[in-house]
């Protein structure tokens, strides 16, 4: 029931407001979404005697033409962004608002949000599904109040809530996995009720395999995509019909001059972690942590020590994977992260790796480090110490001749920066036994990938638009396996909460009801994806997803009446021409433009 979420939200806020009124410390400023207070006041005023509602009597300022910004450089997701805006545009007339679009490059859009420039009211884009976001900590941190306002930090909605921020921070230090799940649930519960992100549909992943040339594979929920190749290695993919190698495409961002993360980017690491540079444990094709170079692991009760038992494994140069290699890899990356150029995996500064015996290593930290397993050790692979030291990595971590040796199921035999890469099976892998060589070719255009696949130049195609998957299926009939999956983060809409109308909870709720999710699913994903009707930045396949704590925010289809009703109940109204107006005397800004949230309004900042 869509209204359940709203009722739950109002109850919580009213409770906190009551506490705030009675409290000298002014907890009202921490009322989950401080931006909503102005409206709530007006709502009460209205109830007390105003007639602002639907009869055109006491109206506030007219809601201006709303600007919907979207990233214009994202390939297939850009199509989704445009279709999302189209579905909203189809019904905004019914609710008395007009809409304009503002395409921006991703860099421009991010910069505008980070600096709270208020050039647009709504951002229609997505959280990038980088591997580190398989743990919720990163996005919880991004949505925290410290990141809101014109400070250059990226808070996707400029969402400022003390209650949420405190819970988000609390979960980051809980060592016990079950307790942490509970802490994450608490934070996401508040987040979900406040609706800073309005999800639309799951981000589908589409891949195709030419079954005349490559034997079909089984895949988990993740499917097969350019940053998550676990399905391929789990299946031990092999060729068919006399084909000598698998030829697959890669988007252009993946082949940098080195896989090493002081040089490569976050997306590239998914490729290398899955195939060539396995870590101790990694996410499988169902987004579940699975042991790879480690046989098993155990975390102490206080969360400060995790002990791994290593399997018998070898690097691609034939050397065994030793505890000393593990220690060197992660302590070097720790130093690089805190003092040098390592960019992606946030290893704790206090991390030390202890060699316990010939097959055991212990990771120690001063405080519980819950993201160590889920967002760090599972993302970046173990390196052989000597070849890398000899290559000069310690002297110059960003400019060394990368020997490209790992302990993954595939060994790199050829690498041409920004062109192609050849891999062959590595016999010494303790878990996976792939059979065929893989050749990766960079493609600039997704249409080019489709054409090359249909023409037999590629026999595995990833990062396809769902429409391309359908097109390939129609043109190639029974000779193709289409693999669909779900990314760990969904698509959605980010109302900018630093100013009106995005600052008002009722507007965000109404906007959610204006989105025809089923229509988006049909037009973008040909019905292959799923609608998301609870507020969360996780997909249903995400390992931390828990629908029980989330607020339901809409149905599958647009519901204009429900949207109007929500706005009307909150004191919004329409003039004789049907134009939507704010409640009388509504505050238009959560904080002044160019500034950050005020500590007086948000005591947690004091």
């Amino acid at each position: 029931m869509p209204t359940d979420g709203k009722v739950a939200s109002v109850d919580r806020r009213r409770l906190l407001q009551a506490i705030g009124a009675a409290s000298a410390v002014g907890l009202a400023g921490c009322s989950g979404s401080g931006q909503d207070e102005g409206t709530t006041t007006e709502q009460e005023t209205d109830t007390d005697g105003g007639d602002g509602g639907g009869d055109g009597g006491d109206l506030g300022e007219r809601v201006p033409t709303l600007t919907f910004q979207y990233w214009s450089d994202q390939g297939p997701p850009t199509v989704l962004f445009e279709e999302t805006i189209s579905t909203i545009q189809a019904v905004t007339g019914d609710i008395g608002i007009s809409l304009e679009t503002m395409p921006m490059t991703t860099a421009e859009g991010l910069s505008a949000v980070s600096n709270d420039t208020r050039e647009f009211h709504i951002a229609v884009n997505s959280h990038g599904p980088s591997p580190g976001r398989l743990d919720p900590n990163e996005l919880l941190t991004n949505y925290s109040i410290d990141f809101a306002g014109a400070n250059g930090d990226y808070n996707p909605s400029n969402y400022a809530s003390c209650e949420f921020s405190e819970l988000a921070e609390a979960q980051s230090t809980v060592g016990d996995p079950e307790e942490r799940q509970s802490a994450v649930d608490d934070a996401l519960s508040v987040y979900s009720a406040d609706l800073p992100f309005i999800p639309t549909i799951e981000r589908p992943t589409t891949a195709a395999i030419n079954t005349d040339q490559v034997n079909s594979i089984e895949s988990g929920a993740a499917g097969l995509n350019d940053v998550h190749w676990a399905a391929l290695v789990e299946a031990g993919v092999s060729t068919a019909g006399g084909t000598d190698a698998i030829v697959a495409n890669l988007p252009t961002e993946h082949l940098t001059s080195s896989f090493y993360p002081t040089v490569a980017d976050g997306d590239s690491m998914g490729l290398y972690t899955s195939l060539t540079h396995n870590p101790l444990l990694m996410y499988d094709s169902d987004y579940e942590l699975t042991p790879v170079l480690a046989e098993d692991w155990e975390t102490s009760d206080d969360g400060t020590t995790t002990t791994f038992t290593l399997r018998d494994a070898t690097f691609h140069n034939g050397d065994p994977v030793t505890p000393e290699d593990v220690k060197w890899t992660y302590e070097f990356l720790r130093d690089q992260y805190h003092d040098g150029d390592y960019q992606w995996t946030s290893l704790p500064e206090s991390l030390s790796v202890e060699v316990v015996d010939d097959s055991t290593v212990a990771f120690n930290t001063d405080e519980a480090a819950p993201t160590l397993l889920t967002a760090s050790l599972s993302i970046y692979g173990v390196l052989p110490r000597d070849p890398y030291v000899n290559a000069g990595i310690e002297d110059n971590p960003t400019d060394f001749d990368d020997p490209m040796i790992g302990a993954g199921p595939y060994r790199m035999v050829s690498y041409q920066n920004q062109q192609n890469m050849a891999l062959e099976p590595h016999d010494g892998h303790p878990v996976y036994s792939p059979e065929a060589d893989i050749l990766f070719q960079l493609y600039e255009s997704t249409d080019g990938v489709t054409r090359a696949f249909e023409n037999g130049e590629l026999n595995v195609a990833v990062a396809l638009h769902p429409e391309a998957g359908q097109q390939i299926e129609e043109s190639m009939g029974g000779n193709v396996q289409i693999i669909t999956g779900v990314s760990h983060l969904p698509f959605g809409v980010m109302p900018q909460m630093s100013f009106a109308p995005g600052k008002f909870i009722e507007f965000r709720q109404a906007l959610s009801h204006l989105i025809d999710r089923q229509n988006i699913n049909e037009t973008y994903a040909f019905g292959e994806s799923e609608t998301v009707t609870h507020c969360t930045f996780h997909s249903s396949a995400h390992p931390w997803h828990n629908e029980e704590v989330l607020t339901e925010i809409a149905g599958d289809s647009a519901d204009v009446d429900q949207a109007r009703s929500i706005l009307e109940d909150a004191g919004w109204g329409w003039d004789d021409n049907g134009n939507l107006h704010y409640p009388p005397d509504a505050e238009m800004e959560a904080w002044p433009q160019g500034e950050e949230p005020d500590p007086e309004e948000f005591p947690c900042l004091g």
Binding site: T106, A107, L110, G128, D153, Y154, Q343, Q416
Partner: protein, 332 residues
Amino acid sequence: MSRLRYFVRRTFITAFLIFLVASALFLFFRLMPGDYTALLTQQGMQPDQIARLEAKWGLNEPMHIQYVSYVTNLLTADAGQSFRHGAPVWDLVKPRIINSFILVAPAITATYIIGGTLGAVIGKYRGGLFEKSSIISVSVFHSIPDFFLGILLIAAFSETAGIFPTSGMLSTRTSILMQGEPFYAKFFLKEFWMHYALPFATITLYFMQYPALIMRNSVVEVSDQEFLHYHRLKGLPQSKLLQKLIRHASLPVITLYPISLATSISGLVLIEVVFNWPGIGRLLVDSVLARDFPVIQFVFLVAAVWVILGNFVVDLLYGVIDPRVSVEGDGE
């Protein structure tokens, strides 16, 4: 002014122009909204990490300091390091320039030879069905966007007829096998020419309009000039007359050729994308989307230098091509 003084003066002007372009590129890219670090933020990089990268790349320095080091580095042939690829810009750009040149130079040359010949024929035998159909044909090919013309050719000759591959310079396997070979080794492979055919045809058909129509008009114009009547009255054979006609009529086309070559090397971005041709245009698209300023600046600079030098060479060769053209004061 003597030819030597003219040459020296033009050389200085050319060098100054290149310096101006380099400076303008620096300024424009710094003034543009958004930067590479914003993309890193979206991927989840923390602010302190980004601050460290900005310090490493010198982006935290005042603009004038950045400018001085930019110019200094350029003078020492150091185009900097790509933010995105972590490699020296020159290492990224050099093979792409070669790949683009391999495609563009022969294609534009063929365009001018075929188009010029076609223009000469339709200019000589104007007024007939052949003239009309030729002009319509070259105009239609040029009115179709170049990338779409490429897609049409792929649909016809790759997907339907199955004759040519859809994309790339070589198949992935061959490309990997050829790693380490000199760049010209691929020219001896039939596979390369099969990959080459469609992008070559696309460029040739798309650009045919310029030389064909200019040559036609030039032939029409020169045909009525008095020197030809004089030669005709002298009783010069038809073949000699035609030779003189073509020689004079081809001057505007020859003038346009290096300029077309210069502009097209940077203007075929979409053709390279459609055919997945690993040229400079494709690198440019990637770098623009990623706000990889060092690469974009350098690619734009290379393109600008190419155009400026093209014009420089044309200016110098004018007098050689057409003796009627002289520099101011020449012969005083």
